[in-house]
């Protein structure tokens, strides 16, 4: 899967998340995860959907280290290609 496909997939998932109040088209790779509109519980719904969409199992330590959307994209790129 290419990076672009990952971005498209994530954008689609973000559009489906009820708790995301910002305009999804304004979210970039540099956007901080704590600026998207998630709280500490609603982000769990998103992570579940990411795992399901991309068919991966995330690791707690990797999730805890993420700050920006780019961190998540990089992570998925490595897991899906490597």
């Amino acid at each position: 899967m290419t990076r672009e496909e990952i971005v498209v997939g994530l954008r689609d998932l973000l559009t489906r998340q009820e708790q995301v109040k910002v305009d999804v088209s304004s979210i970039t790779e540099h956007t901080r995860l704590d600026r998207i509109g998630f709280d500490s519980i609603s982000i769990l719904d998103f992570i579940y959907d990411v795992e399901d969409r991309f068919r991966i199992q995330t690791e707690i330590a990797d999730l805890a280290a993420m700050e920006r959307v780019s961190d998540l994209i990089d992570y998925l790129e490595v897991r899906l290609v490597g």
């Binding site: 995860l33 500490s40 769990l44 579940y48 707690i60």
Partner: protein
Amino acid sequence: MQCGVAQGLSWLVAISPPPLLVGLARAVAGLAFVVWRRRRLIAIDNILRAGLSPTVGGARAMARTAFQTFAVMVVESAIMRRRMTRENWREYVHLDASPEVERSLRQPGQGLIVASAHLGNWEVAARAAAMLKPMCAIYRPFTNPYLDRIVRAQREGEGLRLVSRLAESPLRFISALAHGEIVALMIDQHVVRGRVAVQFFGRPAWATKSVAMLHLTTRAPVLVACAVRVRSLRYALRVVGPVTCERTGDREKDALALTQALTAEIEAEVRRYPEQYMWGHRRWRVRRGPTS
């Protein structure tokens, strides 16, 4: 005024002998039961609908005991905050858990999720568990920020931090689990967001799906824990689990299945100690479909 009351209670606990405080608490609760009509009626109605008493008189007696138990819990929590330390906590709290559960509580670096309820003394439960493993307890802050700060400072302790689910970064609880902490949450109260409709005493009730989602995304083990009062200043910390759930790919279905399993464990504990449950909360408010 609220801050003054909180500070005043703290001072009273510091200077008064425990039997006097407990007696005072029971008396105040008895009066509150008479005066606070709305909560009294909610408690009696809840007990009747739960099928725990066949008569109104029996439900009323149980409700009164529950009011008094709650007041005693508040007082004994304050006393235990001053007395219980890492060195002596086992004098006050007996850990009632399987060897597997005890191992997971003692294993460094293993994050755990704990679901609890307003049964017995949840403050003591948190403090005792935090003696074994650092704990991040998710709580609902008071609207008054000054009162919240005072009460939070009183409730936190060795290895125990209180964290609002709203005030922290989104990955806060995942980070706590990654650092081998316990993330604890009460799951027996009505919520308006992030919820599923479970069966509690045979009737639908909204419950937070937070614990379920935390487990489904992190795969950290989930336990259910409650500290029931055995006698004056003595508790049994009952811990069961791990409670598991098969992941099907249907997020809401999985959240419901696990939350229902956790609620069933809570219900079993409440049935064992009904007089120690906080019955005055309007628990059953489901009017619509099963998910929201």
